[in-house]
């Protein structure tokens, strides 16, 4: 029986039969439908994915006219970062890397972001970051965002002043763990608003909250509150990208607009992001390294399709290392990145990536 060269979720090369790929596509969409309580892909959509994954060409693309807008989070790192950070170590500054992305790679938008990439450590070096933003704004044309992660964990001991829920929860100190997260969330919101307003003052076009809710539901709340304030007081284009497909309930009880944040999936997350006033939503669907890329892409586009259908703002799906169906490895194969991207556009109906 003919075997198709493809990849597993950890990037490992593997040969599968067409029937095996077909079965994985079905299983992937059913898994997403079961977890998210959303519709699975139709037979026609699954057939499309089967064609995509059995096509022999290495790289695939959308048909002309279906191209989508690209936003990014920290992609300059791919140029100047070390290999262990998924970069290729080109000896250029981040400002130069941004210009290369604009002029050589034809990116639609870019962002300035500190290598540390969290809002808290940006605060004490805000003058340097403003200078970097101004410098880039003066030498580029495309819309320029400032991006970083809310990263609530940096506010907990030993990195910050508040109690650490990861210590308190196993000790059974639930009330203390919840209070610590609430206090940390308030501090985090203040920091994000501070950085956002300063960036708006120097003329940044947008602000990207990346890897949101990595520390759970309290971090999501902190972000939504910051989005609300920045949307109300600035002209920034605001993008909210998630950390995972599912909001972890490290607090379990925090709500926004009357909705409990723990346990939300992308099609539910986007409604709150819209409500807060953001302009672009970046859903994340995690890759399972032990499953094939076909399984992962089928699962990811099922979640993202439901999200796009629910959204009234543009949806820019995260399609990168370990998310959006892309294998979890330092340099994901272009064959799988392009297949995941095409599936997101054609079936996931995203507005951007």
């Amino acid at each position: 029986m003919t075997k198709v060269y493809t990849r597993m979720g950890d990037g490992h090369a593997v040969e599968m039969t067409v029937d095996e790929i077909r079965a994985d596509i079905l299983a992937g969409t059913e898994d997403a439908a079961d977890r998210g309580k959303i519709p699975p892909l139709s037979e026609g959509e699954r057939d499309y994915l089967l064609d995509l994954f059995t096509f022999e060409g290495k790289i695939v693309g959308v048909v002309p006219g279906d191209e989508v807008v690209l936003t990014d989070d920290g992609s300059v790192n791919a140029l100047y970062g070390a290999q262990s950070s998924s970069g290729v170590g080109v000896p250029i500054s981040r400002e130069s890397a941004i210009r290369v992305y604009e002029r050589a790679f034809a990116m639609d938008t870019m962002e300035v972001g500190h290598p540390d990439y969290s809002f808290k450590p940006v605060k004490p070096i805000i003058a340097l970051e403003l200078q970097a933003m101004e410098s880039v704004l003066h030498t580029t044309i495309i819309p320029m965002y400032y991006g970083a992660m809310p990263n609530l964990a940096l506010y907990a001991r030993p990195d910050g002043p508040f109690g650490n829920p990861a210590d308190l929860l196993p000790m059974g100190k639930i009330d203390e763990a919840r209070s610590a997260q609430e206090e940390a969330a308030e501090a985090s919101t203040r920091d994000m608003i501070y950085v956002g307003k300063r960036m708006a003052e120097v003329g940044a076009d947008g602000f990207n909250f990346d890897t949101t809710a990595s520390a759970g539901d309290a971090e999501f709340l902190a972000t939504l509150n910051a989005v609300e304030e920045l949307a109300r007081t600035t002209d920034l284009s605001i993008e909210v990208g998630m950390a995972a497909e599912f909001v972890l309930g490290m607090h379990g009880k925090v709500t926004y607009d009357g909705v409990r944040l723990a346990g939300l999936y992308p099609h539910q997350q986007v409604k709150l992001v819209e409500k807060a006033g953001a302009h672009i939503f970046g859903p994340v669907v995690n890759t399972n390294t032990r499953r094939s890329t076909a399984w992962n892409v089928s699962r990811a586009v099922t979640f993202v399709k439901a999200c796009s259908e629910a959204a009234t703002i543009p949806v820019h799906a995260n399609v990168g290392i370990g998310v959006g169906g892309v294998p979890m490895c330092e340099t994901p194969p272009t064959s799988m990145v392009t297949r995941a991207s095409v599936a997101m556009v054609t079936i996931g109906r995203v507005d951007g990536l």
Binding site: L169, P170, I174, F246, G249, M250
Partner: protein, 217 residues
Amino acid sequence: MDTEALLAEIRAAVLDGEPSLVKSLTEKALEAGLPALTIVSEGLTEGIRSVGVEFQKGSYFLPDLVRGAQSMEIGLEVLQPLLTGAGEEMPTHARVVLGTVHGDLHSIGKNIVAAMLKASGFAVDDLGVNVPVEVFVEKVRETEAGFLGLSALLTTTVHQQEAVIKALEAAGLRSKVKVLLGGAPIDQDWADRVGADGFAPDAARAVEVARELAGIR
């Protein structure tokens, strides 16, 4: 209030994670003449089982799990002296030796599994984190535990689980103890490959697996 309604309230209070309410309802149930063992088996245990079900459905989260376990433990504290005094044995299903393997310092999941097991009537010897192979083996020998729980969060430390199982075999203890594995990189395939008796993806399931292996309903 009839006794069935009282037991239902205890179950609901455990499910809602209300330790002080569980305490007062347990005392009320005793005053109403309910046998301590009935309160444990039809009230507290059923309550914590419902917590596990909600956790697996994704509607409960870590704090809910811990709060449920705390509620059950408080109820058990009220009943323990009475059970002992009446000559009845506390329903300790089995003794569990538990720890995170050598080279791995992660404790959160392991601690929550310990709390859930205790709340479900298991006696737990928690050896902590970064536990050398020989310490696990020695503790199993010393306590004659029926279960050994091995936690590993890193792909670089999961092989320690296999090393412990081999050391148990070498020490002639393997057939006397059931080995349960847990941790983010662990799945049933791995558990089968290294010859473990069970695997659980979370604390609620760990209790279920331990109960199944112990032959408890």
